[in-house]
């Protein structure tokens, strides 16, 4: 039975959305094309295996690598989301400290 890779792509995106939650909006422009690329690599692995251009061991290894890579990429984007949050807090703190400074209040 052939695999509907478009449906796989949608499934991957839905799964990632659940993990990244609100951070998705921040990282979607970079993460979206990367997820599509990973689905495309998955499709080419299946094609190579069907055409006997991969040994059994190579096929198992690539499937394992795909799983590790998806987990790693997802973690990278979770980290990006956290950094963006930290940078936003940094910017907010600058505004607060400026206001406190103007008011003559020593804080921090």
């Amino acid at each position: 039975m052939s695999i509907d890779w478009q449906q796989v792509g949608t499934g991957v995106r839905d799964a990632v959305l659940k993990v990244l939650g609100g951070s998705w909006q921040t990282v979607s422009s970079a993460a979206g094309p990367q997820l599509e690329a990973m689905v495309s690599v998955g499709a080419s692995i299946e094609q190579s295996y069907s055409a006997n251009r991969l040994t059994e061991l190579e096929y198992k290894s690539l499937r394992s690598m795909e799983k590790n890579a998806l987990e790693g990429i997802l973690s990278s984007y979770e980290a990006v989301g956290i950094v963006v949050g930290e940078q936003a807090a940094d910017a907010a703190w600058s505004v607060i400290s400026q206001a406190l400074l103007k008011a003559g209040v020593a804080f921090a």
Binding site: M38, I73, Y77, V83
Partner: protein, 170 residues
């Protein structure tokens, strides 16, 4: 005056939270960024060489021509696991150094970054283990491995560029 107290408390709590978060924001490290670029290049160079050798073995392997067979034997030797142990040793060493540098100053994102780097190291080890077991790798395997590793490097590059774009000048 008493009505203002809860508002002030709220403001102080908010400011304290922001201070804690802001103090955690990572600073851009140009050395870590350069190491990431260099390590990806190191992986790409080694895998491109292996892919090119595998294609040569596939293409000339069926030729009855004696000089082609000599070229195939030479390509097999260069593509063997034994001939590429230095590549894996150097790449794994670079990844360890990269990991140390990128996570040297912990912030809230470090546990996620640790996981991303650990999965990259796992995948390089996966290629190495497969190469050791098969002695020479097929062109399709090497090509797909390179594509997968490149996507992992790309996500880490986005992380570095995010820090760079949001960092205050040093």
């Amino acid at each position: 005056m008493f009505n203002k107290l809860p508002l002030i408390s709220l403001f102080v709590a908010f400011a304290a939270t922001v201070t804690i978060l802001a103090s955690c924001a990572p600073t851009y490290d140009s050395i870590a960024d350069q190491m990431l670029v260099d390590t990806q290049k190191q992986a790409d160079d080694g895998l491109l060489k292996l892919e090119s050798l595998a294609v040569m073995i596939d293409t000339l392997g069926k030729s009855p021509n004696a000089s082609d067979q000599k070229a195939v034997a030479d390509a097999r030797r260069q593509a063997s696991y034994g001939s590429n142990m230095d590549f894996y040793n150097n790449l794994q060493s670079s990844l360890t150094t990269l990991d140390t540098r990128m996570t040297a100053t912990p912030d809230l994102s470090t546990p996620k970054l640790n996981n991303a780097l650990s999965n990259l190291e796992k995948n390089v080890n996966e290629v190495r283990t497969t190469h050791a077991a098969e002695n020479t790798l097929g062109a399709d395997y090497v090509k797909a491995s390179k594509q997968i590793l490149d996507q992992q490097f790309k996500a880490l590059t986005v992380y570095e560029l995010t820090i760079k774009s949001g960092s205050k000048p040093q």
